[in-house]
């Protein structure tokens, strides 16, 4: 399981093992402030990072950050 959440540190405390940093609490997968194309790209990158996390071996709670610039938290 890959866990997409804007509150990665909280997810870590909750012992989630594969954490993907999402955008913001009211919109974890994307950003309505962006133009629609950029918003879609951001969401796809977040999902792709989750797929990468699913294929990566980890030994405990690990945070994966999407390779695209955005503000999280």
């Amino acid at each position: 399981m890959a866990h997409i959440t804007p509150m990665a540190m909280l997810a870590k405390q909750m012992k989630s093992n594969r954490i993907v940093t999402g955008t913001k609490i009211p919109h974890p997968c994307g950003d309505p402030n962006l133009p629609i194309e950029a918003d879609n790209t951001l969401r796809r990158e977040i999902v792709k990072t989750a797929f990468k996390a699913l294929q990566t071996g980890v030994s405990g709670p690990t945070v994966f950050v999407p390779d695209i610039s955005y503000t999280s938290g």
Binding site: M1, H27, C29, N40, R43, F51, L54, Q55, T56, G60
Partner: protein
């Protein structure tokens, strides 16, 4: 006045039957106090009487739990006991589990208080916190049996209080292991004043106690990575509160205890259907306008077309996650997992707000 009658539970060792070689022994009963039950009864100084002692092999209980529980319940009914006391089990794993299972079962079946004792490190304690029964109390004991005297004294003191029908206060005052309930209480100072007091104590390096201890969580076993994503069926789960329009399943916006799965078959985007957003913990306006923010179906479909994975499961799982009990959410998680295993799902994307 007739004495308050209780049932006592011990394993084969404390029942005086034998050690590991007798661990397969089925449940038995004696109409008297046996082993630690005798000392316990003495310590209660006539406030109660052990009407019957149940004993059982540790392995037998683990392997025939429902049969063992059924016989214990039948005998508890027959003797009209008003309380069950089990153990103390100290650090013993199987014994601790059995004590908690019996306490839980008799408490919910007969609505009688149940008391046991064990080390806080015992795996039974985790189960106790999950069951979270209002009428079950675990008294912390030493890891080793050498602490028997102290354990029985504490259990007897606590049991005598319960027998008298006295109100049982919070865990730190009464000395039982906390179950995670927050009890109402009248206090002189407002929350603001108490918070500032705690802050001042903290800054000055004085000892202080939080009013809201955070539950500490066990490590979760790490799932191995998916070796071949191209062959994997993946499912989406969301706690963002995306539910069927009009919330026909009756989800609560906080303290939710259930889950549903909704079809996303043949949809390319969450915008292809109508949804409601049922969540009391964040501003839902954005997810309402575009539910893909909480259930990233459009992004998943694009990647599915690139054949990065075999297919997306035709349903997504929803459980609004806000101010819910960890134990309730763990139960929801287990149920969803059971459904996913039956559906042959290999991996999960969980979105939480």
């Amino acid at each position: 006045m007739a004495l308050f009658r209780i049932m006592y539970y011990v394993n084969q060792f404390f029942g005086g039957i034998g050690g590991e070689e007798k661990a397969d022994m089925p449940v038995g009963f004696r109409e008297e106090a046996v082993g630690p039950a005798r000392r316990f009864q003495e310590l209660c100084q006539g406030s109660l009487e052990v009407a019957v002692t149940a004993y059982c092999g540790d392995n037998y209980f683990a392997e025939h739990e429902s049969d063992a529980l059924a016989s214990i319940l039948e005998v508890a009914r027959k003797y009209h006991v008003g309380m069950l006391v089990a153990g103390p089990a100290f650090g013993a794993g199987r014994y601790g589990f059995a004590c908690v299972e019996i306490c839980h079962f008799l408490n919910i079946s007969l609505n009688i208080p149940c008391i046991s004792g064990m080390s806080v490190e015992s795996p039974g304690v985790e189960l106790y916190k999950q069951y979270k029964d209002k009428g079950v109390f675990l008294i912390p004991t030493s890891e080793a049996v050498s602490g028997m005297g102290e354990a029985l004294s504490k259990m007897a003191r606590f049991a005598s209080k319960v027998v008298k029908g006295e109100a049982i206060g919070p865990a730190p005052e009464e000395g039982y292991i906390p179950r995670g309930f927050r009890l109402d209480a009248l206090v002189d100072k407002t929350g603001v004043e108490r918070a500032v007091d705690i802050l001042l104590d903290k800054l000055a390096g004085r000892t202080f106690a939080t009013e809201i201890p955070i539950e500490t969580l066990e490590e979760i076993p790490v799932a191995p990575p998916i070796a071949n994503l191209k062959d994997a069926c993946l499912a989406l789960v969301s706690t963002a509160g995306v539910v069927a329009p009009g919330n026909p399943d009756g989800f609560k916006t906080f303290g939710n205890t259930q889950w549903r799965k909704y079809s996303i078959d043949k949809m390319n985007s969450m915008k292809d259907a109508r949804w409601d957003v049922w969540h009391g913990g964040y501003n839902t306006i954005f997810v309402h306008e575009n539910p893909n923010y909480g259930v990233p179906l459009d992004g998943c479909r694009e990647i599915e077309k690139e054949k990065a994975f075999r297919k997306l499961h035709p349903f997504f799982y929803s459980t609004p996650g806000n101010m819910a009990l960890i134990s309730a959410m763990q139960a929801v998680g287990k149920e969803i997992l059971g459904d996913m295993k039956a559906e042959g799902i290999d991996g999960v994307l969980l979105v939480s707000t």
